[in-house]
Symmetry: C2
Amino acid sequence: MNLKGLRVMGIDPGLTRCGLSVVEAGHGRAVIPISVGIVRTPATAELPERLLRLSTGVNQWMDDYRPDVVAVERVFERGNVSTVIHTAHASGVLVLAAAQRGIPVHMYTPSEVKKAVSGNGRADKKQMTAMITRILGLAEPPQPADAADALALAVCHCWRAPLLARTAALLNSEGTKK
Amino acid sequence: MNLKGLRVMGIDPGLTRCGLSVVEAGHGRAVIPISVGIVRTPATAELPERLLRLSTGVNQWMDDYRPDVVAVERVFERGNVSTVIHTAHASGVLVLAAAQRGIPVHMYTPSEVKKAVSGNGRADKKQMTAMITRILGLAEPPQPADAADALALAVCHCWRAPLLARTAALLNSEGTKK
């Protein structure tokens, strides 16, 4: 299963800071970094204004980089519930942007990303940053620092995609047999 | 403060069932029902597909009824966290639809709506349905039954809007004095 050239956008959803990245799958497990950044919305603004800015920001990235697929962190039931609700509002808008363009969306939990990238589902931020820096062959850790999660999501998808594709093909052939 | 003719859309956010209503403010506390309904998305579909359907549905309502303002139930930290996350995804997409059209959005908690409509912040579903039926002068309870919440949100806004407008005017004049 050759995915070379597959362009993946990683999205770490957030209302105050949303991490975005774009990578391209290379030969084998090689992953080429294309871009990384943050879309911010002011905490002083009302929710509708913030969601509008976030939507405009991610759509601009999608226009600029034309990803083939989007990998988004699944909103998880942990920590402060009110933060979770804010993140879920943001995530709805981000996933919608991809759906409106017909771009497939894959969702990964934080521990799936950690496991895929570092082999350890409980890797800490420092370990993850070190792994991402090494995998992408960067001279120094990715900037801004908290956009490293968005890169990790994209790398995770590059490495999981061949397996997902094989599973889908298998399920399809099972379906045909019936 | 005369709000006669103000067209309010009430939205009770949900991913599986989203309640929508449109009413118009009449003389004094009179509220005229215009429409009520539900946008459903299949629980078997993936999240991106569901959010896309929901967005298309609410945008269709906004095209059809051209509301001046939208009243949305605020997603609240109660019950099952995974349901709350789904509802918050949906809410993000619904609020975005209004923001993209420049329609002002007001958010109310369930108890604010109950208090405004029935005088009791803990009114049950039966009491709320009876109140909404009476306020809107309906011959029988609104159909579908669970869209009554969307009507209650719209009525709540009609009755709160004059107070909100006076408060805003007051804050504005305070600001001018400085």
